[in-house]
Structures are given as C-alpha cells and as structure tokens.
C-alpha cells in the first residue's frame, strides 16, 4: 500500500515548486506568448478584413463603373431617340405646313380663277351686248335706208303706241 500513500515531503515540494513554476511561467512565458498570439491573430484578422473591404470596394467600383456606363448608354439612346423624334416632328410639321400653304395657295388660285372667270363672263356679256347693239344699229340702219321704209317703221311703231 506504500504506492498509494501520499508522501509528505513530495507533496510539499510538488506544491511549492509547481506553484512557483505557474507564477514564473505566467509572468515570463504565458503572458508574453499569449499576448503576442492574440495581437498577431488580431492583426491577421484586421488584414483579412481590410483585404475583404478593399475587394468589396473594388467590386463596388466596378458596379459603379458599370452603372455609369449603362447610364451613358441610356443617355446616348435617349438622345438618339430624342433627335429622331425631333426630326420626325420637324418633318411632320413641315409637311403639315406645306400642306396648309399649298391648300391656301390652291384656294386663292381657285378664287382668283373664279373671279377672273366671272370678270371674263361679265366682259363677255358686255362685249355681246355691245356687239348686239352694233348689230342692231347696223340692221336698223339698213332697214331705215329709204324714206318709205322709215315711214313704214314709224307707222308700225305708231300702231303699237296706239295699241298701248
């Protein structure tokens, strides 16, 4: 049973020396080692985090670039579309204006033609009247060439007057 009987001297030395070792190692070994391990871990973590952040930033930038590019593309498309619209609008307007102008000119022309026509007709009428009078004068002159004929006419006229 000697084997399982604690020995006073050994317990004494073991306790004393083990406690001393714990304190010495805590001060001169575990303290510096654990502190620097922690510091190193922190610095590695920081480095990893900042690398991750930088990566994120780069990807953000890429996204931003992409966005700007897309915006520019959109802008260009919009501008092209606007230009096309404007062109169309101008052409349409011009066409409308031309149409209106043309219509107006045609109308005026038609009116002028009408007026001219009326004037011509009136002139023609006058001419016809003049001609008719001249013809009638000439016929009358012919008919009134002798005295007897004049007398016959007067008579006729007189007959009519009597009748009236």
């Amino acid at each position: 049973m000697e084997l399982v009987k604690p020995d006073f001297g050994l317990v004494f030395w073991m306790t004393v020396s083990f406690l001393i070792v714990v304190f010495i190692l805590r001060k001169f070994a575990w303290g510096p080692i654990l502190t620097s391990l922690k510091e190193r871990e922190n610095s590695i973590n920081d480095a990893l985090n900042s690398a991750k952040k930088a990566k994120e930033e780069v990807s953000n930038m890429k996204a931003e670039n992409e966005r700007i590019l897309q915006e520019a593309r959109n802008e260009r498309d919009k501008m092209l579309k606007d230009a096309r619209d404007t062109k169309d609008a101008i052409v349409n307007e011009a066409r409308t204006k031309a149409q209106v102008e043309g219509d107006r000119i045609v109308t005026i022309a038609r009116e002028t033609i009408q007026n001219e026509k009326l004037a011509a007709i009136a002139e023609l009428k006058n001419q016809v009247a003049t001609l008719s009078i001249e013809i009638a004068e000439k016929v009358i002159r012919q008919q009134l060439a002798g005295d007897d004929k004049q007398k016959a006419l007067v008579n006729d006229l007189l007959k009519d007057v009597k009748l009236n």
């Binding site: 001297g9 004494f12 020396s17 805590r26 575990w30 080692i33 654990l34």
Partner: protein
C-alpha cells in the same frame, strides 16, 4: 510514400539500436539488479557480504523502480546521493547527504533509512550500524521528511526544462522577431499552445472566462507531459515515476479542486445543493450525490493519472524483467535470457510507442477534465431551457 519509407527506416534503426543497447547493457543491468536484491535481503538478515547468487524478485525490483527513493540509481553500484532534509520539533532541522546512510547500512544524526526507503528516527544520535539501532516510533511520527528525493529532483529537472523552453520561446515574441512568422521551437510550442487554448481550454471554459485560467492549465499540461516523457527515458535524467506517484497526482488534482471551488459561481453551487427544477424529495437523494461528485471528480483525476503512468512503468519494467527471469540458472540460464530478449524488446518498443501516446494523452486528459470542471464552475445562468 517517401515519408512512410523514412519512418520505416527510422523504426528499424531504433529497433536495431535498442537491440544493441540492450545486449550491451545486459551485463550492467543484471549487475544492477542483483546488488539491490542482495541489499534488500542482506538488510533483513543483517549479513553484509552475500557472495552467493540471489533469486531475482521481479515484483520487488519493479516496485522499487516506480517508488520514490533518496538516491538516484545510475548503473551498477553508482548512484547520485540526494540531500536528506528532515525536521523534528525536538531535533530541529537536519540536512545531510543520503550517502551517509550507506544504502541503509548506517544510521546518521539519529536517522536511518528503512527497507521501504523511508526515514525513521532512532534513539542514538551518533553514527551507528543500522541493524543495531532501535527505532524511536514517537519521534518518527513527528518527523517531517522533506528530502530532495528522486522524484523531487526530477520535478526540478522538469521545471528547469519548462523554464528553459518557455522563457526562450517567449523571448521570440518580444525581441526583434516580434510580430514575425514563428520559426523552429517557437513554431512547435506555439501550435501546441494554440491547440490547448482554442480546442481544450476555450472550448471547455467558454469565451468569457477562459483567459484567467490559461496560465495554470497550460503549465499543468506541459508539466505533466514533460514529466511523463521524462519518465519514459530509462536513464538519468529520466526514469523517475513522477506523475505516476500518488503525491504528485494528488497535488495537481487538489489544485484543480481548489480552483474549481474558488471560482464556483452561484449557478454552480445552486446545481450542487439544490438542482433547480427538481422536486424536493428527489433533491434529498440528488444533493448528496452531487456533493460527493464535487470531491469524486478530482479524486478520479488523481487516480487516472497515477494509475496510467505507473502501469506504463510497470509494463515496461516487466518486459525487461522477463529476460532476467528466463536467464536465471534455475530456469533456462543465459541462453533463455538471450532467447527471450528479442521478444521482450519488441514488446517494450511497442509499449514505448504506446506510452509515448499515453504520456501526451494523460496530460491532455488531465488538462481537459480540469478545464471542464472549471468550466462547469464558472458557467453562467444562460441555458435555462436544458432544465
């Protein structure tokens, strides 16, 4: 492929070396074994000059090897005498070399070394023959033996190794290499420290409290491991059965016990004395078991370390003793011893590797369980749903 080939070569080399060593040391060992056996019996009989062959007492030999002693046996008749320090109320403090005892043959300054290797007080204060001296039981009972024994000396060696390794490693963190990648010894030590810190201590005690217990637990782990490994080395400065000594295991277990008690929080004591959510009647049964458990845990911690390491020493010694048992004239003679030795060596080498694993494992288990007990003590009230 290359690695396995290398390891195979190294194993074969190791085997060959062991064989050569064991054969060359066979003569020494047998001469080392016999005088001890002779001494032990001669002390009983009182005869000083035994010339005849003694029967080998393997059990006694092994027990002597795993027990503590006042001298460090090196080889043959050579051993390092260690200081004897005894204190007695009446006689005061007495310090002298254990060589004065002349292996138990002489009493010195009123003390003698008995058969079990313990110091006893005798009535005569002068130097007398041990076998004629009368033991004074009263004074012996009141005598405190705080000699630097083989185990104490071995503890000092371990401490020297620990201080040397860890202070030199710690310097790497503070000098100009500060903040740089670890190299060499620092690398090896660091990986073990990080393993113990992250996977054992932090995992058992918890993120919040673990830092306070790191110095104790790390010292505990490296102390046990170093001692275990030193114990596997058969020659000086190794071979002492330090962690396999009940006193050493007791001190370590008691330290863990004290730390557990001191750091125990309300939540822990509540669970010991009055487990919440348990009916009063059951508590009557449960509380004594829980209280017993508080004491049982460090006790088992002590027994586990003690038994594992002692068993390892006993097995290794037993295999070697087989050679000499078979080599006895009454059995098969020298031929028998030589015949058995290869088998013994193969088994011892196998056990050596196993013990190398056990050396780490026991240090690991002791630290892990200590951390778990401390972790249970400092646990906060946070997982109500389990109860």
């Amino acid at each position: 492929m290359k690695v396995s080939k290398l390891s195979l070569i190294s194993i074969i080399t190791f085997l060959a070396l062991t064989l050569v060593f064991s054969i060359s040391s066979k003569a020494q060992d047998s001469s080392a074994v016999q005088p001890q056996a002779v001494e032990a019996t001669s002390a009983e009989a009182g005869a000083v000059e035994p010339a005849h062959e003694e029967k080998l007492n393997a059990g006694k030999l092994i027990m002597e090897h795993i027990a503590d002693s006042h001298g460090w046996h090196l080889w043959g008749q050579t051993s390092i005498p260690l200081p004897v320090i005894v204190y007695n109320n009446q006689r005061g403090l007495t310090v002298f070399s254990s060589a004065r005892f002349e292996h138990g043959h002489k009493a010195y300054e009123g003390y003698l070394l008995n058969e079990a290797g313990k110091i006893e007080a005798v009535n005569e204060l002068g130097e007398v023959e041990a076998h004629t001296a009368t033991v004074n039981k009263d004074i012996t009972a009141a005598t405190y033996d705080i000699s630097i024994t083989k185990n104490v000396f071995s503890i000092f060696i371990t401490i020297a190794i620990l201080l040397l390794i860890f202070t030199s490693v710690a310097k790497r963190y503070t000098n100009k290499r500060k903040g740089m990648a670890p190299t060499g010894l620092q690398n090896a030590v660091e990986s073990i420290i990080i393993f113990m810190r992250d996977d054992v201590i932090k995992a058992s005690i918890g993120e919040k409290n673990y830092e306070k217990y790191l110095p104790y637990l790390l010292t505990l782990f490296f102390f046990i491991w170093t001692n275990n490994v030193l114990g596997l080395i058969p020659v000086f400065p190794g071979g002492a059965n330090v962690t396999g000594n009940i006193s050493v295991a007791l001190v370590l277990a008691v330290l863990t016990f004290i730390i557990t008690l001191v750091s125990g929080k309300k939540y822990y004591w509540q669970h010991v004395f009055a487990m919440p959510g348990v009916p009063k009647g059951v508590l009557l049964l449960l509380t004594p078991i829980e209280i017993l458990g508080v004491f049982l845990r460090p006790f088992v911690l002590m027994i586990r370390l003690f038994a594992n390491i002692t068993a390892g020493h006993i097995i290794a010694l037993s295999f070697f003793c087989l050679i000499f048992i078979f080599g006895q004239e009454t059995l098969y003679g020298t031929g028998g011893g030589l015949g058995v030795s290869p088998l013994s060596i193969v088994f011892t080498v196998f056990m050596g590797f196993l013990e190398l694993l056990v050396a780490f494992l026991q240090a690991y288990v002791f630290t892990l369980l200590s951390a778990i007990y401390i972790g249970a003590a400092v646990e906060e009230h946070h997982h109500e749903e389990h109860h």
